[in-house]
Amino acid sequence: MTDPQQPHRRNPRPPAAGARPCPGTRHPAKPRQGFIRLGSPRPRLRMISLALTLVMLAFVVRLLQVQAVDAEAYAAKAGHGRLATHTLAAERGEITDRRGIALATTVDAYDIIADPFLLTPEQSGAKDAPQQAAALLAPILDKDAGQLEEKLSVPGSRYALLARRQSPQVWNQIKDLQRTFAGKAADGSEANVLAGIVQESHSKRVYPNKDLAAGILGFVNAEGRGGGGLEAQLDKKLSGRDGKITYAQSAGRQVPTSATREFPAVPGSDVELTIDRDIQWAAQEAISRQVQESAADRGYVIAQDTRTGEILAMANAPGFDPNDISAADSGSLGNPALQDAFEPGSTSKVMSMAAVLEEGKATPETHVTVPNRLHRADRLFADDVDHDTWYLTLNGVLAKSSNIGTILAVEQLGRTQRQADDVLHSYLRKFGIGKPTGLGFPGETPGILAHPRDWSSSQRFTVRFGQGLSLNAVQAASVYSTIANGGVRVAPTLVRGTRGAGGKLVPAPEPERTRVVGAKTAKTLATMLESVVDDEAGTGSKARIPGYRVAGKTGTSNRVDPDTGRYKGYTASFAGFAPADKPRIAVYCAVQNPTRGSYFGGQVCGPVFKEVMEFSLKTLQVPPTGRPPARLPVTFRPGE
């Protein structure tokens, strides 16, 4: 429009000559004299375009800053009030037994919360609103009315947690009550004293079988994370990953047409254990009863599948109810079957015998003359009963559980005591003593097995019959399982596999298999162990199961008092497997510090072993082989 070439745009007069003509007069004006260029429009235009460019540049820079550089921050600011973000809680996986029966599961639950401000006289319109509300809620929540009233009448507070993890049914009851009161309040007949009660939804871990397998399962803490046992060990697998949803909201409701951004929660995997619920229950029943009868400190029972190494039952007494850990005694919250290390006593003799047999130093028929006392190092060793000189076979030494006989037998392992020690130590290690079981259980003890160089002069003899070394109950069960499995040790397992969202079982890695003794030695040991139970002279006659051939070994050891570190009291134990000639199940039982009645392993743990073994054989439908027992000789006549 402002064409500089147009002739009439020229200024007719020099500025000095007078005032500028008004625009109206400019148009018809014609230059009367020669042109005088007073100013070229080009620089002006350039200036303007430069200025405009700068302004545009500033706009562009700002636009970039707002739209690209700081976009996130501004979007967040804008979304702050408009967008609502919620966490989508991932559901914690179930823990089931080997048949898929739930041992730990998750259900919906509500925390019941109150706003005390709404119960003040000004707000509620009733003088004693907190008291009324407490009286109404106490029976529903199963709480003390006085306590509730105290929580509801805190001045200035706007948050009072009345009860944690209540079932939806409880919340429904409260809602019904609220509805009634709201109706009454609308009539004006009564104040609404329940106005400030709300819920906050949560999930709750439920253990349907209460204290069954509680030691293995552990518990979940207030944040919903595993606090102990497998719940803690497998927390990552079980808990899954929380999701997030973001949507535009208006007055707390989602705007229907608005876009939502959702990262769905990944639910936790289900974990299938090797535990059989019924066997676990039988084991727990039996050991609880025995611990009570013997007025003992505690007891454990392990049942293991000898072929696969799977733990079928791992029971502790006393146990706890993981549904309510606040009521549990903190001392019993763990899994003592894996966390207690104790001296095994005579059940350990089977490892000494395994070494002697495997090294070819003796056979079950080898004659051993057992004197009443045996002088070794600075001590006089004795058997648990006073006796005249016994004339026993090696089989008899095990059957009658002779300490002296075992010391004498192990001496055959090397030319010197030291050599014998080294050989025995190598066998103990191979049986898994002093090593972690491989379960990876939280707080598990590997037991204590010192190096033979560090054994004291008397310890080197006591180790042979199971004192001066310590192990946990699972290790002890694994020893017998190894012999039952033809001398191949299968590392114990507790987890069969995990089940993801697809529902397909991902099996746990195969357990490690190591050969400890030869198949022949294992078979001989099994026959010898049968004599312990089967022979009239044996110590384990209480463990007999009619119809089955049972191999077992009693143990009565001096117990180290955990408070003083000195020997005080006894550990009664029994270990064995059945059927002896085609083993399927190994069971180990130990009772710590029995104070009432007998303290002998055969008397205290023999019946527990029998009960658990019988139940397991029936549950797994293991038939007896029907072959007659070998009946190896126990004694010999001197001079023969």
């Binding site: 739930a102 599961t105 259900v107 919906d108 079932s167 939806p168 049914q169 439920v206 349907p208 079988n209 209460k210 069954l212 409701r253 989602q254 229907p256 047409t257 619920r277 019924d278 229950w281 039988a282 029943e285 199961i545 009619p546 119809g547 089955y548 019988e614 054989l617 029936k618 038939p623 007896p624 029907g626």
Partner: protein, 127 residues
């Protein structure tokens, strides 16, 4: 100068429509009104159905929660009844006792006799 202006105007005048349009105006207006009105009503319907859907979603969600809660409560009841200790208690109330050692029948022998391995028959129930 004047001449050129007049010439330009004349040329411009050619471009102007001469006289009124021959096309009827009413159908076009009607079409526009119809389109606009239709769009408005469609939008309204869409919005209404969206709202209805939202209400239904809410209702169904509530129903799902209720049913889930009920299912969980019932499952817990079942678990309570099928827990081994509860089963044992009720079995004992009915006069049952643990089976004890199993008895095996040998098919090779005359029927009815227990195999040689079981020393005595199972304990009689109700001991």
């Amino acid at each position: 100068m004047k001449r050129t202006v007049r010439g330009r105007a004349a040329r411009l005048a050619h471009l102007l429509p001469n006289g009124t349009s021959t096309a009827a105006r009413t159908p076009f207006v009607l079409l526009v009104v119809l389109l606009l009105g239709g769009g408005l009503i469609t939008l309204l319907l869409l919005n209404a159905s969206l709202n209805q859907g939202s209400f239904q979603l809410n209702k169904l969600r509530k129903q799902t929660t209720g049913l889930t809660d009920e299912e969980q409560a019932l499952q817990q009841d079942i678990d309570g009844y099928s827990a081994p200790d509860a089963l044992e208690r009720r079995a004992r109330e009915l006069g049952m006792v643990p089976g004890g050692s199993p008895v095996f029948l040998d098919p090779n022998r005359t029927a009815g006799t227990a195999s040689g391995h079981s020393r005595k028959p199972a304990q009689t129930p109700g001991r």
